[in-house]
Symmetry: C2
């Protein structure tokens, strides 16, 4: 392990909390030597990290479902890595693992993090490393438990999902289809919409950039919307609220349209549709379901292997591109799960 | 029954849909002769009607949980009346009944309405006629099923209810207290707040007119808000959203602050608190629970009789005052369930 001292760890740290879209000068590029793991810990070399809309929330001050990233701290990120030094009997050099390395090349995972399920070996037979960041990773788990536990889909119901070509959206839509639902996506631009329908098998996809969401949604959902899985918030949430059925379930997973606001969040003006329709709007946080991840992974991996489900990742190479690559999410430029590959 | 022809029925009809607060010139005062009931029907003389915030919604055009009142139609209103002519074997002249007479002195109830539970004899042993418009009537049923079925209170939880001195609010708060919850009201002005605490036994009441809702709510709910029963919407809903606990339930019963808007409804800008807290916001419409009304009436009447629950009605006399009396609701001037007594 003496070779570790020769390595340099390149890192990206949060320098200042953004007002609106995060800009390059809000990040610090730092280096530090690579240290050996303490007893019970491991050292992981990052292979790829997941870029998620939720990251924008972590950059804000204040209480949320998870502590904010502190100023000066390495930016938080989930990812896939390889164990290159281990003082934990459960892990061996060469193990490919899922963890939260952050935006840095090397990451020490301490024993208490390992005990809190903060590190696990991925099974390459179930999926590629990129799939472990996508359908088999946090986005897939979010989609699975949001749809199944909060949404509770029944065959024949109409399920609408926004951000349909994104990581969570593709899982939700394909899974709902497998469960016997009519599935309608909402995505930006004809290429994504066509892919969602032709490749993923959605019944329809509304292109919100075409500017006719209300009429297009009505056409695509002639019997109304029984379940809406919302990743975007804003005007789209408000429009869907006008189309929900009695007893509808709205899963609040995110609100990417609002994350970079410099003005207050736009609340759903049509929320009284919940009253009229005896409908329910409920939030999901994936960390609540950690214990049941293996069940979801097994089911989703089975769908991937049988070909009933596909996954698409949008892979960008090079850690240094992080500041610009992250913005692809907020500009709707990613096509599939956005992955930042380090090597 | 020949005497009926000598009677004149005074009525108030919707003349024009209001923009903002309903004004006197939006109503038509009409008269027509009183007719005999058809086979299977009854003729009811109205004793008192219930004035409810929901009436404002019925005056708007467009789809809701119930059809709008048509222009030229007698304004819809629930009420208590006396049967003065009957061609239905189930009802006898002199029966005191609950029905939907509308804002008029006499009302024909046809056989098909009776079959749809649109008329039932009230039991004077369980409560006064005014109580049958309050805790034992629609507001009480709304509060009961909203709290119990949607809110699902557990002992020790903190329940907040807005419009606490109103008809629904007084039922919700007192019932939640009986179920072992900490109960905090929100009401306008010191007199209502004092009454809610001293007479109804709420643990605290926030005076929203004092202008310090956020801090006062925090003081009153040191452990956060587990259940919020919302009758008002607007800024108060948004403020409560900042104080909810993980797994909180928000019952959307109404939004009186928004009903007379001439601008769009203010959506809850803090709705992402549902995500952070894995909380749920759900609408209630009382008509869904009709079959279970007897169960709720029995329980609530028991609480009234044992003295564990009180009811307060704000009684105004004279049908002709309807246009102005209705406005008391929207100006927050009613103190207790607003009842318009005819005789």
């Amino acid at each position: 392990m003496t070779a570790l001292a020769a390595l340099t760890n390149h890192q990206i740290r949060l320098k200042a909390r953004p007002n609106g879209l995060p800009t390059r000068d809000g990040w610090d590029f730092t280096t530090e030597p690579v240290a050996e793991p303490a007893d019970g810990g491991v050292l992981v070399k990052t292979l790829a990290i997941s870029l998620d809309p939720a990251m924008r929330g972590w950059m804000n001050e204040g209480k949320s479902y998870i502590a904010p990233v502190a100023i000066g701290e390495v930016m938080r990120a989930g990812g896939i890595g390889m164990v290159i030094a281990s003082k934990n009997p459960g892990f061996t050099v060469g193990d490919v693992v899922s963890c939260t390395p952050g935006v840095q090349e090397y990451c020490l995972i301490a024993v208490d993090q390992i005990k809190r399920n903060g590190l696990f070996r991925i099974d390459p037979r179930l999926g590629t490393p990129n799939q472990w960041l996508n359908v088999l990773g946090m986005p897939g788990m979010t989609g699975y438990f949001g749809l199944m536990d909060v949404g509770q889909p029944k065959p024949g119901e109409t399920v609408v999902v926004s951000g349909a070509a994104g990581a969570v959206g593709q899982t939700v839509g394909q899974l709902a289809k497998i469960k016997g639902c009519r599935v309608v996506g909402i995505a930006g631009g004809p290429a994504k919409c066509e892919w969602v329908v032709k490749e993923l098998g959605f019944d329809a996809c509304v292109d919100y950039k075409a500017g006719n969401v209300k009429a297009d949604l009505k056409d695509a959902c002639p019997k109304g919307v029984d379940i809406y899985f919302d990743n975007v918030g804003g005007e789209i949430l408000d429009t869907v609220l006008t189309r929900i059925t009695r007893g509808a379930r709205i899963i609040i997973c995110g609100a990417i349209s609002q994350y970079n606001n410099t003005t207050p969040v736009k609340g759903p003006a049509n929320y009284l549709s919940l009253l009229v329709n005896r409908a329910r709007m409920e939030g999901i946080v994936v960390f609540d379901y950690t214990e049941r991840f293996p069940v979801a992974v097994a089911e989703l991996a089975g769908h991937l292997q049988s070909g009933r489900m596909k996954s698409k990742e949008d892979v960008v190479v090079g850690m240094a591109t992080f500041p610009e690559t992250l913005l692809k999410l907020f500009n709707g430029e990613n096509f599939g799960k956005l992955v930042l590959q380090f090597a």
